[in-house]
Symmetry: D2
C-alpha cells in the first residue's frame, strides 16, 4: 500500500501517517519525491482498512499494490484448480463442460424431456431453477423442493449432474441434499450470510458474477467460500450492466482471461443471461469457448414460447445440437476438448 | 404491452401472437401500420412474462406501457406516504429528517458520544452498523447483537431513533427487537428471501438502492415489502456504479425526483456512501436537500482516523454541525423544514 | 411512435396530441386501454422530434417503434453489404479480413518491417496511425503526412491495403490521397462535420464505435456517411466504457450479432483497444471471429517495449503468427475463411 | 509513477525496468517489499507513456502518482481562475452565473422574446445553438451563421452575453466573431483538432464534459486549450451515460466538488441535458447551486411544445422565474450570490 501525500503536506502530517502505519502493525517507508512524498506500507495490506489512513490530514490518495483477496489468487496457489464432480467430471482442466437446461423447472415432463434432449446433444450437466430470484414479487418464483426432486430424478434417468440455485440458508440445505453443485446467483453475489453458509455446505459452488461486480469483488466473494474451507469453487461470467439496451447485459468475455490471470479458480460463461436473446446465444457461446472459458451454461427449452420464464433467451433443442457441433471444433482449435456426459445411473 | 412485429411478419405469425395473448387471459388488439404491425395487449401487463411473447416467430420487440410494479406506484396511491415513527417523527411529509452516526458501532463510548454529538447538532435519528456487509471476509464484520444493544442504549440516552442493517433472517429478528427502522443494504436489495422476511417484521424498512439497480428495480424490491403487508417503506439513493473512480459511486440525485414522480414512497439520500470522501459529503448533502430528498443519512465519527470502517467518508462532528446549519436554510428555501430530534426517553 | 398518456389525462389533452401529430403531417390513431390511452403515430417516425410531443400536457412517455436510422438498416436493404477494396479484397462477405500493424507509424524501418512480418503471417491489411487522437496534449500526436507516405510505401512493398485515421477536414483529404480506407476514430464517432466530409471523400470508411455509444448511435453515425452517398462503410466494435478497470474497456462482442441483425453493413472487431493488454488480445481476437466478426484489427509491433504508443497492448510478431493459425481454424468451424493478402504491387 | 513487479519477477527483469526508466530520462528507485518489488519513477510522470514500461517482462501493473495534466491543476496554480467576460461579468468568483435560452435559435422573434424573458427573471447570459450536433443526419441542424447574427442581435437588445457552440474550424471562426464564449459540446470534448483551434481563438471557452468522460479526461481536454495559451476556460458537467433510462443521463453533481479540488478552473452545470425532462430540471438546478457550481445553464423556451429540438427538457418562462427565486436563496445559504445581468448595450 502506498499513501500518497499532497504536494504541500507538512513534515508533521507525514510523520502522523508513519505513526499510524506502525500502530497498525506494519512497517512504514517514506519516499520523498520531486513533487510529493509517498509513504509505503510494507507487507500484505489485504487486511488493512485504508479508510483510516485516507482520513489523515495531508493525505491525497491511497494506492493498493497488493490485491485484497488471498486464497483465491494465483500468487497463493499457482496451479489451476480442477473441481472434481461425482463420476469423474472435472471443471477447470483441459475439458470444456457444457451445462444446459431450462431457466426454471416447470414439470416432470419438461425437465426429463429437456435433460434427455441436451444429453443426446452432448451436455454433461443439467441446469434448472427450483428457487427463482425474480425482480418482481408477482413473477413465477419456482417449484421449490418439488423442483429439486425433479432435478434429481432427471439426473437418475440421464446421468447429467445437476446445478441449481440456492437463495437463503434453508435453500442451501435443500440444494445440498439434491444437487451436485450449489449455484449462488448474481443478485446474491455479495450476500455474505449466504456465502458463508454455502462455504460450509460441503458441495462445490458455482458463483455467478453480480450484475455490476468488478473482478476484484467477484474474487472477494469467492474468498468468502474458500475462507470457510470450501475450495471447490467455479466462477461464472453472465454479463454486466451496460448503458445500451440492445442486449440484456454486456457479456464481458475478457473477464475470463482476467480471472485466469489473477486466480487459479475455473470460470465458465453464461451467454443466455448475458445477452437475453436466443439469436445471440449461439455466437456468444462459441465466443466464450474461443476465449478460453472452462465451460458454458446455456438455457434450452423444449418449447421456449411456453416457458414460464426466460423464454426469449432459451434455445430450441435443435439449435443447441448445432451449437454443440460448433463448439467442439472451436475447443479443438485451441487445444481443448468438450467433456463427455457420464453414463446414466439407472443405465 | 405492445408486441411489435417484424416488417415481414406473416399473417399467421400475427395470429399466433393474438392467440397467445388471449390464452394468457388478455385482450389482443392488432394495429397494422405502414411499416409493420403491432399487437396491443389490453389490461395491466405487470404480471405477464413478456419472454413468452418475445419468443414467438415474427416478433421484433416487446414494449411495456404499464410499469411492472403496482402498490408502490403513485397511480395506485396518489397521496405521498408518510412513515410514522415512535414519538411522532415522520418521514415523507414536509420535514427533512437527518440521520447521522458512525459506519459501524465500535464501542459504548463511541456510539454514545457520537449520538450525543449529532443530536446536539440537530440529527433526529442515529445510524450505526451492527451487522456489516463487507466485500472482503477479512474486514471488520460488526459487533452483532452487542452492537444492537449499544444502539438501543444510545437511543435511551439521547432520544434519537435508531436505524440499522439486517443481512439475513436471524438479523431481521434481532434488528426488529432493538431498532426503530430495519435497513436493507444495497448489496441485498434483490435478496428476495430477506425482503419477504423484512416485509413481515412489523417495523418500517429503509431500503437502499442497489449499486446498479434501475429505479424500476428499486421499486420492484419495495413492492416485495408492500406485497407482504408492510407499507412503511423508505427508499434511499446512495450512489450507483459509474466508470470514473474519482468518487466511490455516482450520486444519482435525479433519482429523488424520479421516485417522487413514480411512487408515493419517501426517499432519502446517503451522500457518504455515494461519494466516499469527506470533503464531498457536505456539498452533496446540501444538494440532496435542494433536490427535494425527504431526509439525508450522513456518516459522522468522533475520530474518523480511528474508525474501523469508512473513516475517509465520515464527517468530523464540527463539520456535521456546520452542515446542519446550511441545510436548514436550504430546506426553507424550498418550503420545507428540518425535523427536530425527539426528547430523550430518559430525560 | 406511440404517445402514452398519463392515466388521468383529459380528453382535451388527448385531442391536443392528436392535433399535433396531424400538424406534423402524420396520421394519429388513439387507442384507449383499461388503464390509459395511447396515441399511435402511423408512418416512419424516424424524422419526428419526439421532444415536441413529450412536452405536451398529459403525456407520460414516448415510445419509438421504428428505428431512427434508415439507409443503414436491414429493413432498407436486406442483403449484406460487401465493401470491395482495390485488388479484389472484400469485407462483409464470407471472408474474415485481418488488419494488423502498429498503433502509430514511427519510422520507415518500423512500418516496413512490421508490414512484412504481419503479411508473412497472413494479414491482408495494414493499420498504423499518422494522426493520433490522444487524451493528453503532451502525448505523441503522430508523424502526419510523412506517416501517410510511409504507409503508402509499405503497401507498395507488401501488397497490404492501408487503413488509417483522419481527425479533421484536412486529414480526410490527405488520408484519401494515400490510404485505401479512411478510419473515423471512437473519439470522433459523433463529430458530424467530420462524418459529412468523410462521406464525400470517395473512399470506404471504417467507423469505430464511440466509447459509450449505443448501437443505435453507431448506426446513426453511419447513416451520416450513407446520407452523403458513401455506401462503403465498415463498422468496428472496439470496447465500451465499463465500471471495472481490470481491462481498458469492455469488449462488447454481442454488438457484432446485434449489428448483423439490424444492419446490412459489415462489422469488424478491435481486441487491442478493447482490452488494452497483450495477453488478452489473442483470446479476444479468437472470440471475435467465433462471434461472427467480418474481420479483426490487431496491434502488432516489432518491439512493443519501444513503441511510442500502446506498447502494452501490441502483440509480438510471433504471437500474431500463432493467433493467425488459431483463427483460421475457428473461421472454418463456422463456415468462413480468413482472407488471403493480395500480391505486392512491386512484386 | 510506480512500476509494480510480479511477485516472481527476476533480478534481470527489475534491472530492465530501472534501465528503461533511466533511458527515458528519469530517476528509478527500486523498493523491495515482502511480497514483491516496486520501482518508483521520480519526477513528474505526466509525459511518460506508461505503455512502454507496462510491456516489459515481469511487470504487473503501472500506478500513476502524478496526474497527467499540468496547467489546469490546482497544484500548478492554487488560486481559483476567474474568467472575466465583457462588461465585467465574471465566472469562477463568488457569483453564480445563470445562462438560459433555447436549445436552438429558431427565429428572430423566438430568440429575442426568450432573451428578454430570461433577462427579466435574472439570467446573465443567453444560450442558443446555431450549429447543432445531432445524432441523426435527419434532425434539425441549426440556422448556422444566420443564427449567430440573431444571437448578437439579442445581446444588443438585452445586454445578455452570448455562448454558443462551434463544431469545426470554420465554426470556431464564426462563433468567435459573434459570441462572447465559444462552447465545445460533449460530443466533441475529445476532438483535439477542434480544441486546438478553439485554444487559439482568443475568446473564453465553455468545455462540456463528454458523455462518458472521466474527470481526468475532461481536465486533459481543458489542458489542450491552456496549452494553446487560452486560460479562460469554463468546464461544464452535463450528465454522463448511465444504465437507467429513467433520465436522459446521470447528473454527476459530485464532479463539481471533484473538479474544484483538482483544478483552479470554474465549473458550471447543465441540468437540462443531464436529466432530459422539464420536471427534473428545477430540482437539479437547485441541487447544482447547493453543490457549489459556479453557474447553471438551463434551457428555456417560450413554447416548448413548438421547439424544433429538446422541447421536453425546456422550462416554461414562468418556471424559470420561479427557479431563479429559489436559487437566489440557496446561493445565499452557502455564502454566494447570483450574478446580475449587465445593462443592455442599446439602453
Amino acid at each position: 500500500m502506498l499513501v500518497v501525500m499532497q504536494h504541500d503536506a507538512s513534515g508533521d502530517e507525514i510523520q502522523r501517517v508513519v505513526d499510524t502505519i506502525e500502530e497498525l502493525g506494519y512497517e512504514a517507508r517514506p519516499m520523498p519525491g520531486k513533487q510529493r512524498t509517498a509513504v509505503g506500507l510494507v507487507g500484505n495490506d489485504g487486511r488493512v482498512d485504508a479508510s483510516r489512513l485516507a482520513a489523515l490530514p495531508g493525505v491525497k490518495e491511497i494506492i493498493h499494490v497488493t490485491q485484497p483477496y488471498k486464497q483465491v489468487s494465483r500468487e497463493w496457489k499457482e496451479e489451476s484448480t480442477v473441481v472434481r464432480l461425482p463420476g469423474g467430471l472435472r471443471i477447470g482442466g483441459n475439458e470444456v463442460v457444457v451445462i444446459a437446461g431450462p431457466c426454471s423447472v416447470e414439470s416432470e415432463e419438461q425437465i426429463i424431456q429437456t435433460a434427455r434432449s441436451v444429453r443426446a446433444s452432448g451436455a454433461a450437466m443439467l441446469r434448472g431453477g427450483a428457487f427463482k430470484p425474480r425482480s418482481s414479487p408477482y413473477s413465477f418464483q419456482g417449484l421449490g423442493e418439488e423442483g429439486l426432486k425433479l432435478l434429481a430424478k432427471a439426473r437418475e434417468e440421464t446421468g447429467l449432474l445437476v446445478v441449481t440455485e440456492a437463495m437463503d440458508a434453508e435453500g442451501v440445505d435443500l440444494v445440498t441434499q439434491y444437487a451436485d453443485v450449489i449455484q449462488i446467483g448474481a443478485r446474491n453475489m455479495q450476500n455474505s450470510s449466504l456465502l458463508k453458509r454455502a462455504g460450509r455446505a460441503g458441495k462445490p459452488v458455482l458463483l455467478k458474477r453480480g450484475i455490476a461486480a468488478t473482478i476484484t469483488e467477484l474474487l472477494l466473494s469467492a474468498e468468502y467460500l474458500l475462507a470457510e474451507g470450501n475450495h471447490d469453487v467455479i466462477l461464472c461470467e453472465r454479463g454486466v450492466r451496460g448503458f445500451d439496451n440492445a442486449t440484456r447485459n454486456v457479456f464481458d468475455l475478457a473477464a475470463i482471461t482476467v480471472v485466469h490471470g489473477l486466480s487459479h479458480l475455473p470460470i465458465i460463461a453464461d451467454p443466455s443471461h448475458a445477452t437475453g436473446w436466443r439469436d445471440k446465444v449461439t455466437p456468444m457461446a462459441r465466443a466464450a469457448v474461443a476465449a478460453g472459458a472452462d465451460g458454458v451454461m446455456v438455457e434450452v427449452h423444449q418449447q421456449p414460447d411456453r416457458a414460464l420464464s426466460d423464454g426469449a433467451q432459451s434455445l430450441y433443442p435443435e439449435q443447441f445440437a448445432e451449437l454443440m457441433r460448433e463448439i467442439r471444433v472451436i475447443a479443438e482449435a485451441i487445444g481443448r476438448v468438450v467433456a463427455e456426459p457420464l453414463p446414466a445411473v439407472s443405465a
